[in-house]
Amino acid sequence: MSKKKKDSSPEQAANTQETAQAAADTKPADDFDDMFDFDDDPLGATGVSRKSLVIFFLIDTSGSMKGTKMGELNTVMEELIPEIRKVGEADTEVKIAVLTFSTDVKWMYSEPIAIEEFEWARLSASGVTSMGAAFKELSARMSRNSFLNSPSLSFAPVIFLMTDGYPSDDYKEGLKELSSNSWYKFGLKAALGIGNEANDDMLAEFTGNKDTVVHAYSGNQLAQMIKIVAVTASQIGSKSMTLSDQNDAELSDEDVYAAKQKMLGQQIQELVNQNDSDDVSFDTGW
């Protein structure tokens, strides 16, 4: 990473030489006279530097999502924001980015928005399912130079995919590109299949395992599943991992590899099993 942490914008980078020269001219910091030059208010603190977490929602807005599915989704997403706001607390600054895909791939906002300021813009559905293109777009944005540009430490992002059908483009090619992205590799991935058409095996290819894939067959379930997955994933994602687990031997990198993803899988499965609901399915009663 760059040495000049604060000055990363291009125009400032151009001035680097000048800045370095100016710095060389100033007195050493420990000089006593200099002591009283700087802001020395012992109570004048800024907030502690927080780790950042970006939660990516990848949402299928193809024509088949029209009606109840989109209505439920819009409603539950609006309700979800205040719930996620609670998870970050002192340690983590949580941001939200929403990528929708139908015929085109589109971000809800041009950059991730802090959870305190985030407002859900209601989505509508039409077109086909360009999931592969969405994967490519996500991969392009999940970069230090783009959406993940926080100067301080970041947690690996949470990536939550929601879809009700099979991709109409070559999703494998998109996924291949995404898989080479380190943020994706270390990220917490979860997927929600909506209705009977959604293919859980394909979704497991995206998340890396079946435990973090859930399915909703009804409106009630859809709302429940989105909440369970989004809240659990952001809770786990926004906190450091409690690594110790009554081991008697020293933990190694392998012991902790993907520990959060495993934990997410376990918790989602536990919660899903408690929430079996029996109302009318999306695909029946038409």
Binding site: M1, K5, K6, A29, M35, F36, F38, D39, D40, P42, L43, A45, T46, G47, V48, S49, K51, I81, P82, R85, K86, E89, A90, D91, E116, R144, P151, S152, L153, S154, F155, A156, S182, W183, F186, K239, S240, M241, T242, L243, S244, D245, Q246, N247, D248, A249, E250, L251, D253, D255, V256, Y257, A258, A259, K260, E270
Partner: protein, 447 residues
């Protein structure tokens, strides 16, 4: 887990029912509800027992803590256990945090979020200590609370920023989340919060106990004073993404203190850790040395960690060494100029401050209107750092004449400007002059 709904009644173990009135918050182990019980509002911590290894042992430990009672009034201690639900879920009642206290988390963030219940919009309200004395009193109180707990043979186990409420006007401290407190050596499953956990716990080599509490205590104290993470510097930031493996490395086997004098690889980064950079320059060496010791030698050797009583003494000294100048500048003596060996000078307005030398310590107390010393400073057997023993005041009948008022409950023997010794009774005072001597009854002081 069994969730509770508003209006639901929960039976308590020794009779009576608490009625759920709302949700206060939720955490890793369960949810805290607001409840009515016997005409009063209480907090009910309600567990998710599916996340517990041994709920029965955990519950027994709380029961034991309830019967032992709190080590002091600084703890929001468990008060009443509930009966078990049919599925085994249980909880306990504790007193509510008073309105006048802010959470440690909000103090670190420098704001609290006030959420409008109707729109869900959040507004930030600033949170900061009213004065420097209140902040230093808060760290004295935190060190003292853990000293009391450890003296009761117990360890807190899960010491972190979620565990305290602080009154920013007075520095009063309330320790909450007391349910993991266990006899030293026992552990009921909690590991702790990363960033606060001792490296040997992070590495999987130890379980929480009094020694690991001492490490976490040093982190909490560092965060409150320096407003940053003692282990997060250049080396950690370089990794960009804090993966599980990165955490294991930077908070475990390869943890490096940001101001380790022998290892400069992890210095704070300007633009990210500005607080730490700024405050590290301001604090006196004895405070910095204590943190260096805690986070270098104490990193790997628990016996090298600073004990609570030592912290308490250091912070009592730090409080004594605050100068509030009439020009408005308030800071530690380390940030004032020294005119000569016994006089400080304000670098902003030039005002000078005489100092008082005490027989029981090797640092001098600066004198300014409102400066105070406390019981523990004039009586070596006292642990009372709250009761004011003496205060520098202006004589009400002779404006411009400054003196020390005896706020203690015992009589002092004082050498007055006429060269003779007089008894100064509680409530009386003596002028300050070059040659002043005070005998507090054992401990003495002179200008």
């Amino acid at each position: 887990m069994t969730e509770l709904s508003i209006g639901q009644e929960v039976e308590l173990e020794y009779g009576g029912k608490a009625t759920v009135a709302g949700v206060i918050g939720s955490g890793g182990q369960g949810t805290v509800y607001l409840v009515d019980y016997n005409g009063m509002k209480w907090a009910l911590k309600w567990y998710d027992i599916s996340k517990m290894k041994d709920p029965a042992a955990f519950k027994n430990n709380i029961k034991k803590n309830i019967s032992d009672g709190a080590p002091s009034n600084k703890f929001l201690w468990p008060r009443y256990l509930t009966k078990d639900m049919p599925d085994g879920t249980f909880g306990y009642l504790m007193e509510l945090k008073p309105e006048s206290f802010d959470s440690f988390v909000d103090i670190l963030n420098t704001y609290r979020l006030r959420v409008d219940p109707l729109t869900g919009r959040a507004v930030k309200e600033p949170v900061r200590f009213t004065d420097l004395k209140a902040m230093v009193t808060a760290v004295i109180n935190i060190a003292n609370a853990f000293r009391q707990l450890h003296r009761a043979g117990k360890s807190y186990q899960d010491l972190n920023d979620g565990g305290f409420f602080i009154n920013v006007d007075t520095g009063a401290v309330l320790v909450c989340d007391c349910d993991n407190i266990a006899p030293d050596g026992a552990n009921f499953g909690i590991g702790g919060k990363p960033g606060y956990m001792a490296p040997e716990i992070v590495r999987g080599l130890a379980k929480p106990d009094v020694q690991t509490d001492k490490y976490s205590l040093a982190v909490v104290l560092f965060k409150l004073l320096f407003r940053g993470d003692p282990m997060e510097g250049e080396k950690v930031i370089k990794d960009v993404c804090l993966t599980e493996a990165a955490e294991l490395k930077h908070y475990g086997a390869e943890a490096v203190f940001v101001y380790d004098p022998d290892n400069t690889t992890n210095r704070p980064v300007r633009g990210i850790h500005d607080n730490v950079i700024k405050f590290w320059r301001m604090y006196p060496d004895y405070i910095k040395d204590a943190f260096i010791q805690s986070f270098t030698a104490g990193l790997t050797d628990p016996n090298k960690r600073i004990i609570e009583n030592e912290w308490q003494k250091l912070f009592v000294r730090l409080r004594t060494e605050i100068i509030s100048c009439t020009c408005g500048r308030t800071n530690f003596t380390s940030m004032f100029e020294k005119q000569d060996s016994t006089t400080y000078r304000c670098p902003k307005c030039g005002m000078t401050f005489a100092t008082l030398e005490f027989s029981n310590r090797d640092y001098r107390m600066p004198l300014y209107i409102g400066s105070k010393f406390y019981e523990c400073e004039i009586d070596d057997n006292s642990d009372d750092f709250i009761s004011v023993a003496g205060e520098l005041v202006e004589n009400k009948l002779k404006p411009g004449v400054l003196g020390i008022r005896n706020c203690s409950e015992r009589s002092w023997n004082v050498k007055m400007p006429d060269g003779k010794y007089y008894d100064v009774l509680p409530g009386k005072g003596c002028p300050i002059w070059q040659g002043l001597e005070i005998d507090f009854g054992g401990v003495t002081a002179k200008i």
